[in-house]
């Protein structure tokens, strides 16, 4: 049975990518399961999509813990523990990462020997404010790596799953998917079928009984203030606002009033600065600055600069 786990962020089309892949496998006469898991159910949060396909009826259920293929649509997820990109991977797990970096770069950085295949992100990435098309790259790539999906089935699956969209959108997705499919021809069929897991191998979970505590300890009361700052929501961001201090008119901080996340503060000159640990990248400030003193940069470029790569 093939077990495929797709990782992306809410809004990037990962659920749809899973459905397309499932549909394509179905057209190739496989028994298929595909299901998304939303987690926090909001834009920018890590989301998952699971696809199982086999020639016999599938009795497994739930999330995929031991994938044969891991597909990552957004490389910035790799450093986020909650995204669980490496959960349950084995030596023979194949990774596909939508990234402009080489597979050697990722092997070295992650310190794993697994087969890692990369393809550069869709060129739409830098211009569009969202990058939906990365999921199309993933669909095409996964199709080729499995080696059991024909071009025709892939195309038909995209047409069916995206039928609610305009024709131009469907065509664009097909074009991007098939391009990825063609580029990975040398890796065709690299993903191996995983063995079936028998019920005998099920191990009972090791439950831990928590001790019974008094209400002052066990009740979910918070005694500190502003603790939410410990949550680094800056990791949601795919595009970042950058303040150009020379252009900033030091108006009464419209950007800071509009920023829903209190992520704009004043530096010693009284000029607004972005708190990148918490800025979610909504980009309201970019749109509202009267002097257009805030510009947009792609997050992956910034990450690279910071790491000196």
């Amino acid at each position: 049975m093939y077990r495929i786990r797709l990782h992306g962020r809410g809004g990037q089309g990962i659920k749809t990518a899973g459905r397309i892949l499932g549909e394509a496998l179905f057209l190739e006469k496989y028994e298929v399961q595909d299901a998304p898991r939303y987690g926090a159910e909001r834009r920018g949060a890590p989301i998952f999509s699971y696809v199982r396909a086999g020639k016999k009826p599938i009795n497994e259920r739930g999330i995929i813990l031991h994938p044969g293929l891991v597909v990552v649509a957004d490389e910035t997820l790799i450093e986020i523990p909650a995204a669980g990109v490496f959960q349950g991977i084995a030596e023979n797990t194949v990774f596909f990462i939508c990234s402009n970096e080489s597979s050697d770069f990722w092997r070295k950085r992650l310190g794993i020997d697994s087969q890692i295949i990369t393809l550069s992100q869709s060129e739409e990435y830098d211009t569009a404010l969202d990058f939906h098309y990365n999921s199309s790259v993933c669909v095409g790539a996964a199709g080729r790596l499995l080696g059991v999906i024909s071009k025709e089935s892939l195309k038909q699956a995209i047409e069916e799953e995206l039928s609610v969209f305009e024709k131009t959108v469907i065509e664009k997705n097909i074009e991007i998917s098939l391009k990825a499919y063609d580029e990975l021809s040398s890796y065709e069929g690299i993903v191996k079928r995983g063995v079936g897991i028998s019920a005998d191998s099920y191990r009972r979970l090791n439950w831990v009984e928590p001790p019974f505590e008094g209400a002052d300890i066990s009740a979910p009361a918070i005694y500190d203030s502003g603790t939410s700052e410990l949550a680094l929501t800056g990791l949601w961001r795919t595009l970042r606002p950058v303040v150009n201090k020379e252009l900033c008119a030091l108006c009464w901080h419209l950007c800071g009033s509009f920023c829903p996340d209190s992520a704009i503060y004043l530096d010693e000159d009284g000029a607004p600065q972005i708190d990148y640990e918490h800025c979610k990248g909504c980009l309201i400030c970019v749109m509202q600055c009267p002097r257009r003193a805030i510009s947009v940069e792609a997050e992956h470029k910034k990450t690279k600069e910071a790491k000196g790569a």
Partner: protein
């Protein structure tokens, strides 16, 4: 001299009391209004939160607040506010806390609660003239669970439970009028995209005794389907088209605090939101657009503006 100190943008405090790191969506219009409101109300505020999107502000062990927060069911936030108000009054009377440590009791509820399930509890609290502020962040649907329609959903909007080509068939409930009919101390509509109007009204409410409503239209990128960077743009259009009248009620009178000199056609507000896309594509639905425009015209005609 009036107690109100905020006259212009520069009078608005830049405190950023509401901490970062919450789980609200990027570009959340409700959070945008709330953090502005909190800066005016100050630290001595107890929030009573009816179930809704904002429940996710405080997920143990994280809180963005500087003081207390209590979570209640959807229908009972005003009742819980009564309990807290009473407890505070008793503590002050028994000299167990100093009058200067008194706190403002603030209900924080979404439109699902405010327009529907929690309306009865709110009505009873106003009737008892409970000294509290009721903040309703109105994103016109049950946003936290996937934007099902609520009593606040506007006519013709697509929600996950009104998906037909004509969208939601009924009309948005006028909760402001319902509150005003109770003759509360104060009621006002605000929007996060107009920080000065918001600040003036919240300051006014803060300085009054009795039941006060702050009703904030909260553009919702996820539920209304628009890009997160357009929250303020859409908020401003809601005011400029006359769809969201900025007004206040006090002493038995309703006063508009911002009257659009020349109202823009509602179309400008509708066409940039995914939830109204079916009014323009694949075929333009002139009838429905006219129905929405008529409602707005009728409203402003009624006030002779």
């Amino acid at each position: 001299m009036s107690k109100e100190k905020i006259k212009k943008m520069r009078d608005i405090p830049f405190e950023r009391l509401l901490a970062s790191g919450t789980a609200m969506c990027a570009g959340c219009g409700a959070l945008e209004a709330l953090h502005q409101i909190y800066d005016i109300l100050g630290k001595n505020t107890v929030f009573v939160n009816a179930a809704g999107c904002m429940t996710l502000l405080s997920v143990y062990p994280f809180t963005p607040f500087r003081g207390s927060w209590l979570y209640t069911s959807m229908a009972s936030a005003p009742a819980a506010a009564q309990g807290i108000r009473d407890a505070l009054d008793i503590l002050i009377e028994k000299k167990r806390i100093k009058p200067k440590d008194n706190m403002q009791v603030v209900v924080l509820a979404g439109d699902g609660s405010s327009y529907g399930m929690g309306l009865s509890a709110a009505s009873a609290a106003i009737e008892r003239n409970l000294d509290f502020i009721y903040i309703c962040y109105d994103n016109e649907g049950y946003g936290n669970t996937g934007q099902q329609y609520s009593d606040a959903t506007p006519h013709a909007a697509r929600t996950s439970t009104s998906k037909s080509l004509t969208g939601f068939q009924y009309y948005k409930k006028d909760i402001f009028a319902i509150w005003a009919a109770h003759k509360p101390a104060y009621a006002a509509t605000i929007i996060g995209s107009d920080p000065l109007d918001l600040a003036k009204k919240v300051e006014k409410a803060k300085n009054m005794k009795g039941a006060k409503l702050i009703l904030a239209l909260s553009p919702c990128p996820t539920g209304w389907t628009f890009h997160s960077n357009e929250t303020v743009k859409i908020g401003k259009l809601a005011v400029e088209t006359g769809i969201w009248p900025l007004k206040e009620y006090a002493d038995g009178k309703i006063v508009h605090t911002k009257i659009p000199r020349e109202r823009k056609p509602v179309e400008e507000y509708l066409k940039i939101q995914g939830r109204f896309k079916h009014l323009f594509e694949p075929q333009r639905n002139d009838k429905l657009i006219a129905e929405i425009q008529n409602e707005v015209d009728k409203y402003w005609g009624h006030y002779n503006h």
